[in-house]
């Protein structure tokens, strides 16, 4: 993983957080699919809830909801936008 200062991953966020996608693991089929699903840099994402057993986690972005397992959410770097400008 990247060594540059505080790297925040989508998987690190608690339910209720708002964030913006900063980067997605590049050049792997999984990374490309995450981009196709809409996890494009700049996209606002809201963490909705964890499954009862802790994984997967439900997210809202681009007007729809989907869940990712932790293994996929680790591939998305984000920046918190809580209390920042409202998403669009």
């Amino acid at each position: 993983m990247a060594t540059s200062p505080p790297t925040l991953l989508l998987a690190d966020l608690e339910p209720g957080s708002d964030a913006r996608v900063e980067a997605v693991e590049a050049d792997t089929p999984i990374g490309r699919r995450l981009l196709d699903l809409g996890f494009v840099p700049g996209t606002p994402v809201r963490v909705l809830r964890r499954a009862p057993l802790g994984d997967p986690v439900e997210y809202e972005l681009r007007g729809y909801r989907l869940c990712l397992r932790r293994s996929e959410a680790l591939r998305i770097r984000v920046q918190r936008s809580d209390g920042g400008e409202p998403p669009q």
Partner: protein, 628 residues
């Protein structure tokens, strides 16, 4: 090729949950043909229609999130667009949920780059309005440079305008400029279009939010999940039973009727025991299959199935499967046939295949008659732990052994043959919706009729072959033999009897003699058939106490020892836990995987497992009880 002669080919493209299937049904009615794309497990559906006198074929392509193919579903779309299975579509209809247009534009951008005549159909425009959203469709049309049409598929609103549009793809405008290729650029392109056309963004669906607060609540959601699954199981297991009994009785009456109508002889035997029984073997599955599909499609279309998978995903993920496999394995307790068909909801092909391959290990209801016979005859009726009897504990142990074996085999398969295919796990949680009844009915009808055509024919053919094995060659019974003895005599000399004898060297290490061998051959028709076959071999007066007493008393003429020792009984029970003694399961595996390779693999590995486990069980019990 003049356009007037060949029907127009229109491909429906869209993400799952976009309302594509509802639109397809609304356009084609019940005239859809369902089949498989060659060489893959993906189903194709197309329907012939006429738009204003012009003949057209509407192709319902699998739901996709991207044109860059990762899954077989997406590969199929790729290959259809390339014209590999049939002539290339003449035009594409991109179907998008009006409430999540932003996401759908990402796929639309990819489609537009393929340079087909393309139009965009926005579904769920009523839901958009209900959630306070508003789109400027004329502006969207201008911004995209292609025709845009809003519909409410299940109510048929907007369909007339759409039909008029679909009749003339030659006249559709083409976008002056193709959208960009890379995902970030596409996202910017989508954002700039949205900025033009969105008057008001739809709010979150309040209904969905409210329902999800309960359905996905850590405690309430888990309890609800358990309740739904128990009900589901109960419906498949118990509620189908009266209908199945009625069918059984009907089949019995038909056989008697056939016998009385036909002159006694081989032909009457063939009709009554071969043909009618074979058709019965197929039809008897229908109540379960119709119920299963009705429930599956209802839960899926309402939006609960994705939630159930979300709740249980962690557990299934541990063994390398995914949440949706749970429903399939649960259904397999009733019967592996609906269980295997239920795997259709699993998107990842490796996960689906692993689930299909272990489904026969779940203890299906057809095993109960043989378990009941052997446990009733040989396990003493004694209390062990409070109200628990030894007989019940043995039965429970058989169920648990099957389930544990299924999980272990699935984990092993996912680490070897079906190792990760590099597909990320993602699952959309669509808004809750009330599915139109017509849509449900057509989905259930499509699936049930596909079962009858594709698996039913195989089941019928195998039934007839098994009947022939048990009937030919025919031999005269010795004079003065009772009907039961004559039937036993004929069976021993039939091909099946000879196969039983021929099998003896292979099954002797498990403690089985030729009679059990014949039973095993016959039980390929369905596991419970071993009971009636044993009754025939032992010339028993009935399949209950008569047969029980007969097998208890049976003595091997060569050794003078009992045939059914505790070791043999344990070995036979264990054999039935593992062995895939069921042609219907094999036929459905063939149908669902579109090849004989996987049913052959499942049969072989389960037979090998069964043999080894029975061998161990026989020796363990024989050593424990002091010899065979």
């Amino acid at each position: 090729m003049s356009a007037g002669v060949l029907p127009l080919r229109l491909g429906l493209v869209g993400s799952p949950n976009s309302g594509k299937t509802t639109l397809f049904n609304a356009l084609t009615g019940l005239r859809a043909r369902v089949g498989n794309y060659p060489g893959v497990t993906v189903e194709w559906r197309e329907g012939a229609v006429a738009f204003g006198g012009r003949r057209a074929v509407v192709i319902d392509l699998p739901g996709i999130y991207s044109l860059e193919a990762l899954s077989p579903d997406e590969e199929v779309v790729e290959r259809v667009l390339a014209g590999e299975f049939a002539p290339r579509p003449d035009a594409l209809v991109v179907v998008a949920d009006a409430c999540s247009l932003e996401r759908s534009l990402l796929v639309l951008a990819q489609v537009l780059r393929r340079a087909f005549p393309t139009c965009l159909v926005l579904t769920m425009t009523d839901e958009l309005r209900a959630r306070g959203g508003e789109l400027d469709l004329p502006r969207l049309e201008r911004a995209l440079g292609i025709p845009v049409c809003g519909v409410i598929g299940h109510r048929g609103i907007g369909l007339d305008a759409l039909r008029r549009l679909l009749a003339e793809p030659e006249r559709w405008p083409r976008p002056p400029l193709l959208p960009p290729e890379s995902a970030p650029d596409r996202s910017e392109w989508a954002a700039s279009i949205l900025a033009h056309v969105v008057r008001r963004r739809p709010g979150a669906s309040r209904t969905t939010d409210a329902i999800d607060r309960v359905v996905l609540h850590p405690v309430a959601g888990t309890l609800l999940f358990a309740a739904v699954m128990v009900t589901f199981f109960q419906l498949i297991f118990a509620w189908a039973q009266p209908a199945m009994n009625a069918i059984d009785a009907g089949v019995g009456r038909t056989a008697v009727l056939a016998r009385s109508a036909l002159p006694a002889g081989l032909f009457a035997d063939f009709v009554a025991d071969g043909l009618v029984a074979g058709v019965g073997a197929v039809v008897t599955f229908l109540p379960q299959i119709v119920l299963l599909f009705a429930l599956l499609y209802l839960l899926e279309d309402v939006g609960y199935m994705a939630r159930a998978a979300f709740v249980i995903d962690r557990v299934m993920g541990r063994i390398g499967l995914e949440g949706r496999a749970f429903v399939s394995l649960l259904s397999s307790y009733a019967c592996a046939v609906p269980g295997i068909m239920a795997t259709r909801t699993i998107a990842s092909p490796h996960n689906r295949l692993a689930t299909i391959l272990v489904a026969p290990l779940m203890t299906c209801s057809a095993r109960l008659p043989i378990y009941a016979l052997l446990i009733g005859a040989f396990v003493p009726r004694q209390q062990v732990l409070g109200p628990l009897g030894l007989q019940g504990l043995v039965l429970l142990a058989l169920y648990v052994t099957g389930a544990v074996a299924a999980l272990c085999v699935a984990a092993a398969l996912k680490r070897t043959l079906l190792r990760g295919e590099g597909l990320p796990f993602y699952m959309e949680l669509p808004p809750y919706r009330v599915p139109p009844l017509r849509l449900l009915a057509s989905q259930v009808w499509g699936s049930a009729s596909a079962f009858l055509r594709r698996a039913g024919t195989i089941i019928l053919a195998v039934s007839v072959v098994l009947w022939a094995l048990l009937t030919f060659p025919r031999s005269e019974a010795p004079a003065g033999a009772s009907p039961a003895e004559a039937s036993r005599h004929a069976l021993e000399r039939s091909f099946a009897g000879r196969i039983g004898h021929a099998l003896e060297p292979a099954i002797a290490p498990l403690g089985f003699d030729w009679k059990i061998g014949v039973g095993l051959v016959a039980s390929l028709a369905a596991r419970e058939v071993i009971v009636s076959t044993l009754a025939q071999i032992y010339a028993a007066s009935d399949e209950g106490t008569g047969l029980r007493d007969a097998i208890r008393a049976d003595v091997d003429p060569r050794t003078g020892r009992r045939v059914f020792t505790p070791a043999t009984v344990a070995s036979l029970l264990v054999f039935f836990v593992f062995a895939l003694q069921c042609m219907s399961t094999l036929a459905v595996m063939r149908r669902e995987t579109n090849s004989w390779r996987w049913p052959a693999f499942a049969f072989s590995y389960l037979l090998a497992l069964a043999w080894c486990a029975s061998f161990v069980a026989w020796h363990a019990v024989a050593a424990w009880t002091g010899g065979a």
